[in-house]
Each structure stands twice: as C-alpha cells, then as structure tokens.
Symmetry: C2
Subunit: 177 residues, 2 copies
DNA sequence: GCATAAGCGGAGGCAGCCTCCGTATATTTA
DNA sequence: TAAATATACGGAGGCTGCCTCCGCTTATGC
C-alpha cells in the first residue's frame, strides 16, 4: 500500500470514529471525507460501503477492548466477567446509532412518545403485579426493568425467535422464585 | 376531520405498516404515499415526521396487544406473564428496523462481519469459561447468550448507563450461582 | 530523471426528504 | 340547492446525501 493511501486510510478511520460517536452511524460520509481532507472517491475506494467503514472503526475499538480484557483480575473471575461486560456495554453504546428513541420512551413519561406507550406499560404492570402477588416473581422487579430487557432481547436477536425465547427464559429463571 | 382526510389517514397507516414490516422503518415515505394513492404532501400533513408515522403504526398494534393481554389466563400469572412477553417480542421484532446486523454477526460465523467479531468472542469465551470453572457462573450459559443479552441491554438503554448496570445485575443474579 | 502503477478527487446522476402554494372538494349556510 | 368557506390535496422544486466514473496527480522502482 502506497504511503499516501495509508495516511488517508488512517485519517478517514479517525474522523469516522469521531463522527459516528457524535452523530451516530448515519453521519454523512461526505462530511467524514471532508473532515479527513480527502475526496469522497477516496473514502469509497477504501471503504466501499458504510458498513465497511463502521466495521473498520469497530475493529479499532475491539483491539483496545481485547487488551483491556486480558489485563483483568484473574483471581476473581466473577468480578472480571462483570467488568468486561460493563466495558462492552459502554463501547457498544458509543458506536450504536440512535434508533433507541422508542426504547427510551417506554420508560420515560417526559417523552413525547410516552402517551402511546402508556397502555402497554400499564397492562404490563398489571400482569407483573399479579405474578408478584402470587409469589412467582421477585418483588423488586419493576415494569421498567422488564420492558427494557424485552426490547433489548427483541432487538439483539431480531431474526431468531428461538434465541429470543431462550434468552427470555434465561432472564426469567433469574426472576422467577 | 373531513371524510376524505380520515380515509387518506387510514390508508397511509395501513400502507406504512406493511412497508415498515417488509423493509424496516427506513422505507421510503414517497413510496408509502404512492402505494396509499396520495401525494407526499398529504403524508407529511398527517405525519410531519417519520417518527410520527412509525408511532401511529405502533399505536395500532399496541391496541391489539392490550386486548390480547387482557384475555390471558388469570389463574396462572407466571405463564400469563411469559406469554405476554413473548407476544411483545414478536411485535417489536416485526416493527423494528434492520440495525441488528452487528448483533447477528457476533453469533454467526457465516456473517461477513464475523472475522472482526472473533477476537471479542474468543476473549469473552475465555472469561466466561474461567468464571464457570470457578463455579461462580452456571455451566449451561454460552458466550452467544451473553453477547446477545449485552447487546440487547446496551441498545435498549442507550442513554442511561445506570439502567444498563441495573439490568446487567438483574441478568447476572439469575446467572451467578 | 523517467516510466508506470497506484491513488486521488470531485463532477454528475440519482433517490429520498420536506415545503409551499395553486387547485380541488367537503361542509356549512342561507 | 347553490353559494361561500373552510379544509385538504398533490406534486413540482430545492436540497442533501449516496455512489460511480474517469481524467489528473503522485509515489515508487529502475
């Protein structure tokens, strides 16, 4: 790879990382090219699709993550696992787009979307309350917890209902008394 | 509201529902207007933003969901809750966009994105394995389960790290021995 | 230094977003 | 029922972002 190509590649990666973190993964590619000081043609030659660019940015972050993971305390595997998961949460969150508005709305009465989530929320609360009264669900669980977990599972296994069910069961086994 | 306006509103809602289910929430609004047999101007008058349209479609579905929930077996609250959550998963999944490519990739060796997820996956497997060997995590848990749950939590509480942590702990309490 | 392979960049065609306003139609009034 | 009025319609047009294509530039090897 020619020296100038390498330089442009690196600049694009840096700028893309900043842009995605700030504006989400839908940030304008022309803007990214501009702030890297190259033409769009150059961007597209290095990263034929947006996906490719996102992926390259993620890969960068992944390496740092892996390093972090290898340095975690070996003597306390439970704690280490937890720290690892937390770090991942943080990383995913900074690179993820903004599609979560609805997921936020369902737990936030201030949101303009709240009104139409209310029915669902109250019905869910009712069912949860009943299950708790019957003593089959731990009492400290809130409807907000439940809806977030459900949203999350739905999203993360969008095209695999079998996995969705498995994860839901995993969650419930910790929740059912 | 004038009769023709009502008619167009309903048509738009129907077509939008179909389009979002088929192509995700990024479906072209001009296409939706066209298939509803109205001009884009009409679409934008009724639904000033894409968000408004998505919301209206969801609201439609929510009503059916609430009806379903009210009919669930009162004598078995645990089962009723589970059925309710499953129905929600299904509903969310059909209306959600397609941003889940990465979430899928991390559990799918066939995906073109798999390569760069591999490091993360193997490091995670390592940490999980250690925790399991130490007897602090149940043995039947897989790395695929963990990464899906983490992705899901990250997404569903994107802008609220406190909630993220709480949900993670909820999950772990069911998982830790 | 020269040849040439490698890389650059931005014009241009296309698609989707959203606004604006002249036209059309439902509803009200007399 | 016909005029008056309020309400709603539609699509042209301006704009932004996507992606391709190809003539020009520059690094590299001899």
């Amino acid at each position: 790879m020619r020296a100038d190509a390498r330089r442009n590649y690196d600049r694009l990666l840096t700028e893309a990382g900043a842009a995605f973190a700030e504006k989400g993964t839908e940030a304008s590619l022309e803007d990214i090219a501009r702030s890297a000081g190259v033409g769009v043609g150059t961007l597209y030659r290095h990263f034929p699709t947006r996906q490719d660019l996102i992926l390259a940015v993620l890969r960068d972050g992944f390496e740092a993550m892996a390093t972090f993971a290898r340095e975690l305390d070996v003597d306390d595997p439970g704690l280490a696992l937890r720290q690892w998961l937390l770090a991942q949460l943080r990383h995913i969150t900074t690179t993820r787009g903004l599609t979560a508005e609805l997921a936020v709305a369902i737990n936030n009465p201030e949101s303009p979307l709240w009104g139409s989530c209310e029915v669902i929320f109250s019905v869910g609360t009712e069912l949860l309350g009943r299950a708790q009264k019957a003593g089959v669900v731990r009492a400290d669980l809130t409807q907000a917890d439940v809806s977030s977990v459900v949203q999350g599972i739905a999203w993360s296994c969008e095209s695999d209902p079998v996995r969705q069910e498995r994860l839901l069961d995993l969650f419930l086994e910790g929740v059912l008394l």
